[in-house]
Symmetry: C2
């Protein structure tokens, strides 16, 4: 199955961004993609660089204008689109939510980001209520999708729970980049860690994995920081963590890769990790820390 | 702190192997190592290539001859040695057990391998009763050690449980290699996956990690398989998964690396994963699979 990752440079304006996205999705369809993954919060600048009440105006209901627009496109092109939106759920209740639009244009399901970061430049705990839908894959015409979002990618638990629920593919819309004050060694370590930890999830679970990041520099309007240089590098890997395709760091790019879901069957036969998990000895995974030890 | 990995080619004879090991440990001490990690089951050929009752003769009690011999060496050189042995616990009850010998020669603790593989060429379920000591780090003069063994390295749960119990370093004595019938692409993917998944554990937990593997070709006396070409590549990485030192694939080698445990404090401040774990949403980690989903 051909998949596409739409690595995008985002502007402040929603209409401009969606136009760019939709052109890229059309291009991906021409190149044979049946599943298209967009980057995180692709309809705006990454607004979590500061805590600003006016930014809640960016939220929208789901279903809502963006899912309708992308749903029409999915139906026209006969492919599955995965988008990530700032969800307005109720007054004062917002989530960061990824949605799956089926190739008939319907909303196949949503995932509300479970792990929420909060660090200088990424003030997401201010904007996003932690997800309450759990780690539940979404069934689609192209397979059972283990859809997660950005910060989730650092947590082996998230990938494992999706695998245990039968996910056939792990997917991570992402917005991550460099702090310009870090030196080049630190920047290299961070980018490599981001790729490596996700390849590790693919390996530990015997599943292919897609990560789609934004690119380009976005200033911090509050001047608290020097802004973020999003590092792109969107990639697809197979169930042994083998890189199938990878984008550059600094350019918008549509990455096409061939995913063979049935290859997981073969890999899990030689590496039968699910057989050997010591579920009798894992209860402390549900603790914050073992202070008694 | 300087650490050493003793990547060894093992023979059938225990005395020869221990002599090789002890010479390498002396060399590591001369080069300043304070912690020495030996490879898995370093006193013999990797005997799990077949199921053979006579191989239970290789088991020994702990404490026993090898821990006494290595304990004396640890005391003489004033360093911590980590060995991995075939433990005779009772008649018909054997474990695969890693031991920590303190720099005063005493046995600081043991870890009994929790995840037991069983695959063509690695018939460990026949020899090793699954560990019953849980994922409990061992306190030593050089820090709290998250000691695990080989197959454990594919399970994010094992590394996480050690981190949650306060481990400051993850360590994996290992015996893994290539099946000569696999082609070079598959061999490359397997070696890279082995390194990547472990670097992933270092990253996800903000901890340095040591993996020590054996090297050399060992035939399968039963001729059921073409034997195993152990792939060496013993390595040390830091808490961002950055490789600090790595051995070759095909030669015995003593790898020395500098580990700075306090660097974890810095890394966990920029990547505070332990803060954001969704322990409320992890109960299904204790299930084998979610068949209902």
């Amino acid at each position: 199955m051909k998949i596409a990752l739409i690595q995008q440079r985002c502007e402040a304006d929603r209409t401009t961004n969606l136009q760019t996205t939709m052109e890229a999705v059309r291009e991906a369809a021409c190149r044979g993609a049946k599943l298209v993954l967009l980057c995180e919060l692709h309809t705006s600048h990454y607004f979590c660089k500061t805590e600003e009440p006016a930014n809640f105006d960016l939220a929208e209901p789901i279903p809502g204008p963006t899912t309708e627009q992308l749903g029409r496109l999915a139906a026209e092109l006969r492919l599955v689109i995965i988008a990530s939106l700032f969800e307005y759920r109720a007054t004062g209740l917002y989530h960061h939510t990824a949605v799956v639009l089926e190739q008939n244009g319907t909303l196949a399901g949503r995932y509300r980001k479970m792990h929420i970061p909060d660090d200088p430049g990424y003030y997401e705990k201010y904007y996003f209520t932690p997800g309450d839908l759990g780690f539940t894959p979404i069934d689609t015409s192209v397979g059972r999708l283990g859809l997660l979002i950005c910060w989730d990618q650092w947590f082996p638990e998230a990938a494992r729970l999706m695998a245990l629920a039968g996910a056939e593919l792990l997917l991570y819309p992402t917005a991550i980049g460099w702090d310009p004050i870090d030196n080049s060694d630190e920047q290299r370590r961070q980018l490599e860690a981001w790729i490596t930890v996700q390849r590790g999830h693919a390996i530990a679970n015997g599943l292919p994995l897609l990560a789609c990041n934004r690119t380009g520099f976005e200033p911090d309007s509050s001047s608290q920081s020097g802004g973020i240089r999003f590092w792109g590098s969107s990639f697809a890997c197979g169930p042994q963590g083998e890189i199938l395709a990878q984008a550059t760091t600094d350019q918008p790019q549509t990455v096409i890769a061939d995913i063979e879901p049935s290859y997981s069957e073969q890999v899990r036969r030689i590496w039968p990790f699910l057989r050997d998990r010591r579920i009798d000895a894992y209860p402390e995974l549900l603790q914050r820390f073992r202070d008694d030890s």
